[in-house]
């Protein structure tokens, strides 16, 4: 790891840990290893979104050429969002790709990700299924995202009808996560979900 990257990460780390403003906006940063190449970011789901109340973990990898190249960030916590893969957690955000600027910091990246949760961009999707649902049936999208937030990110939302459908599929011998993915992508239509699962 180059000298400049190491020193900058140290500074940024201190900045995020110390700052009150950062704590208020609900972002955190922790070291995954001592060598500063890998960090763990945590962001709170922004208010008035299906992610409200949830806590999301992010894996941040610092490239050797940081800050001239963006950090590699992905969601560890599963999330139902048009710009984040529901399978891998990969993020589609321009500043993490070709719109990166060397003066951006981990703090700005985390804040941008929080803003992304509040304002999805379905025209530039990472997860096509979620994006289609977001545009076609926003209500279902909202409820599904809330369900995912409660299951994976600890948000206090309850959707007993979804739970019932899940139990039904589980009784048919399908494991829970596959059942959830199938139901979510089929708009909680159990017939289409079973069709998808058993074909």
């Amino acid at each position: 790891m180059s000298n400049i990257a190491q020193q900058r990460i140290q500074r940024e780390f201190r900045e995020v840990v110390k700052s009150d403003e950062v704590a208020k906006s609900g972002i955190e940063l922790a070291l995954a290893h001592d060598d500063l190449t890998e960090l763990v970011g945590t962001i709170k789901g922004p208010p008035d979104t299906p992610y409200e109340g949830g806590t999301y973990q992010l894996e941040i990898r610092i490239p050797d050429t940081y800050p001239f190249n963006p950090p590699k960030v992905r969601f560890v916590t599963k999330i139902w969002h048009p710009n984040i893969s529901s399978v891998t957690g990969a993020i589609c955000l321009d500043i993490l790709k070709d719109q990166w600027a060397a003066a951006m910091t981990l703090r700005t990246v985390l804040l941008s990700l929080q803003a992304l949760l509040a304002a999805p961009e379905p025209d530039d999707p990472q997860d096509a299924v979620v994006a289609r649902q977001f545009s076609a049936d926003y209500k279902t999208f909202f409820k599904t995202a809330q369900h995912w937030a409660s299951v994976f990110a600890g948000a206090p939302h309850e959707h007993p009808d979804f739970d019932r459908l899940l139990t039904k599929l589980k009784d048919m011998g399908v494991d829970e996560s596959s059942a959830r993915v199938a139901l979510s992508s089929c708009g909680w239509d159990i017939h289409r979900a079973t069709e998808q699962l058993f074909n």
Partner: protein, 436 residues
Amino acid sequence: MASLERSTASGPTGDRVKPDTAAVTAPLSPVCRFFLAGSCVYGDECRYRHESWLSRTRPDEATVAEPHSDPYGVPLTFDTFAVDDVDASQTPALPAPIHSVSTSSGFTFTPDPDAPEFVPRGFNASCLPGGLTAKSHRLVPLHPDPVVEEGHPPVEVGARSWAQVVNPEAMAQLPMADAESQLCPFNMIGECHYGESCAYIHGDTCDYCGQDVLHPWHEGQRRKHHAICMQSHEEAMEVSFAVARSKDKTCGICMETVLDKNKGEARFGILPNCTHCFCLSCLRTWRQAKQFENKIIRACPECRQTSDFICPSRFWVDTPEDKDKLLTDYRLNLNKKECKYFRRGRGECPFGNKCFYRHVDASGLAVDVGPPQTRTRRANENGDITEAQRVLMMDFLNLRDERGTRFLDISTEFGQMLRLALEVDLEDDDDDYYVP
């Protein structure tokens, strides 16, 4: 005297030329080779300069040495001098007239006293015919360098009268250079071993610089030294202000305090179009990044304001005026250097006349190469962005012709058909232009 004026006029260009080429480029036109060989048929009509090697090496001397056989054929006039009214009696310490001047080749010339144009610097009023003694026109050559050679020193310190030494009024009239040369150089920088018995004057101590450099009687010298001291004091103040305003500035990329970095890296990179602060090395690395589009890397990493160039600076600039001055100075400095791409016309500069460096041809004359070429980028079959090569119409036509003939040779039958078609086309063209 024309050369005096010429060399003055070509001063700005001459300054920018390297010393080895100065002799060729400083005058307006090249020297006539035939004249040098002694056989120019054009004589005075020649468009090149008729000038000997001797006068080319030291133009000021040569002019004095040949005052009325002017090598340029330009009649000598009083226009080449600045004329000011000076009371001759007020210049008692002027050096004695120079009646002979030697050139670098050791050849001595004694000017004709009847020549009215020849007025060397440091002349005496008695030199002029007509007895203009009390009040005369003093002619001051425009050329600043004294024409005096070492072999003929002007009459100076030794010629002072006792009255001049004891009378400060008269001392005030002593030329500045003479007044300065009277001061003991050892005493100026420290201690003189001769002490009181020193033949030179030990000056008064300057309040600003603390050195004994003030001439005891010469008011002009004292004032001049004070002015210099004040100026350097102001400059030092400016530098300390600059350091003060730069010392807490951190680079937006490496986040370090710029002035605390290693000696070679403690420089600011100033973006002309925004006020964000970066160190030069970080900003350069960012702008050379290959993984992003040009638009991204040419923009400020903080505010994305595009800047076409960056300016290195030892200090941070706060005010727009300071910044303007810095950028102007930077561009002026770059313009003194020759463009590495253009290479005196042998190369091609991608920046065209937008280049900050100097474009000169082999003879040192400035060249306008026109606007920069537009660079075309296109994706190759792998989707990578590459720079399109410049395609000349000529190359394309040659290639087409080549292909065309080969094509005609290979398939003669079709070739004939094609030729026929071409002929028909030509005839059609003729018809188009036919006017009944």
